[in-house]
Amino acid sequence: MDFRPLNDTERRQLINALRGNAESDRAILMDRRDTSFLGTTEEVTDEEVISAIKSVPCHY
């Protein structure tokens, strides 16, 4: 079992991912081989998608 301290970048990414999970229900990705932290998914909010759909201009 390896206990390696996270470097600054990894720590910042993990904190952001945990915050995104707690506040916005965003998934946290885990390496299936060793359960290490892999990042977060590039999720898009409903508001962003629907705002774009609702504002599609008339086409000619």
Binding site: A17, A27, E42, V49, I50, C58
Partner: protein, 318 residues
């Protein structure tokens, strides 16, 4: 109205219940690991799944055979925006309630917005990528009018860049056209139909031809197209309900009674839920309580009003 709230579940209801709650295999692969942030470069190509390609060619051909076939039509495209390319995974049609003529089309965005909620249940990475629309004549390029609108609209998209397809039906119909071919990297042709692909970034003065490739995959919204008219009729009220009840889930059904949309609204007790089954000709309400599915004798055509009346009735009985 609701005195006979709970009827005994009939045999067909039990069958239906079993079919609803049977585990369904996921149609999506597991989500690959991606970086937390993507730097978007100009698009180098658009990748269509074969499902999306079939939808565009088939529905364009069907549209031309309809009474309104001379009008323009179109689709909103959903998919994954990656650093240098985009993968189109779903098409949202303009709808029967579109505003269109031989010279313009404005989509019915209510049904498209609702459909985006349904499709994105499977993958929250799906984003709005662009628009395909058709020209009745032989203009294979977006018009100046398109440029004025799209030039502002792309600011809403990832990478501030959109994908724009133009469908025309001006090609020669060859007997040998058994499959699509690409006379140019940004053009797909099959029989007399042609789709020409472009991209536009914020600030661009003109569209840029965008190479198109095809990969194997679904059109995640295709099952919704079967009852798009029904979606359009209920979209505004379902969307309102969805915004008020964030735990609501959707399931698309297709059985011997035809296509349908099942809404499930969880209740306070674990496993309990209100369910609404929407089919082209009817709206039915069910109560899932203690593992038992009960039909509610309540036939409100307006889904949001029907759900809240039912919740109020349940609250008085609690």
């Amino acid at each position: 109205m609701l005195q006979a709230l709970v009827g005994s579940a009939t045999r067909w209801l039990n069958d239906l219940q079993r079919s609803w709650h049977r585990p369904r295999p996921s149609t999506l692969p597991t989500t690959p690991a991606t970086s937390a942030s993507i730097t978007y470069a100009p698009l180098e190509r658009v990748l269509l799944t074969d499902g999306v390609g079939r939808t565009l060619f088939e529905e364009f051909a069907n549209h031309r055979a309809e009474a309104r076939g001379e009008e323009e039509t179109g689709w909103v495209l959903l998919g994954l925006r990656e650093a240098r390319e985009a993968v189109v995974l779903a098409t949202l049609p303009a709808g029967a309630m579109r505003d269109a003529s031989v010279a313009h089309v404005r989509f019915n965005s209510n049904a498209q917005a609702l459909a985006s909620r349904i499709v994105r249940q499977a993958d929250r990475r799906l984003a709005t990528l662009g628009v395909v629309h058709t020209h009745p004549g032989s203009l294979r390029h977006p018009s100046d009018g398109d440029l004025r609108g799209d030039g502002q609209w792309v600011a809403n998209l990832r990478g501030k860049e959109g994908i724009f397809g133009i469908g025309t039906a001006d090609g020669p119909e060859l007997a040998s056209d058994l499959f699509a071919y690409q006379p140019r990297p940004n053009v797909q042709c099959m029989r007399e139909l042609r789709f020409s692909w472009y991209s536009l970034r914020q600030g661009d003065r003109s569209y840029r031809p965008l190479p198109v490739d095809v990969t194997i995959g679904p059109d995640l919204a295709r099952s919704l197209h079967e009852f798009w008219d029904t979606l359009e009729r209920h979209a505004e009220r379902i969307d309102r309900l969805c915004r008020q009840q964030s735990a609501m889930r959707f399931q698309v059904l297709s059985d011997k009674w035809g296509p349908g949309l099942l809404l499930t609204l969880p209740l306070a007790e674990r496993g309990d839920a209100v369910q609404v089954l929407i089919r082209p000709k009817e709206v039915r309400y069910y109560l899932l309580r203690g593992g038992e599915l009960l039909e509610v004798q309540h036939h409100d055509e307006w889904v949001d009003r029907g759900v809240y009346l039912l919740l109020a009735e349940l609250a008085t009985r609690a």
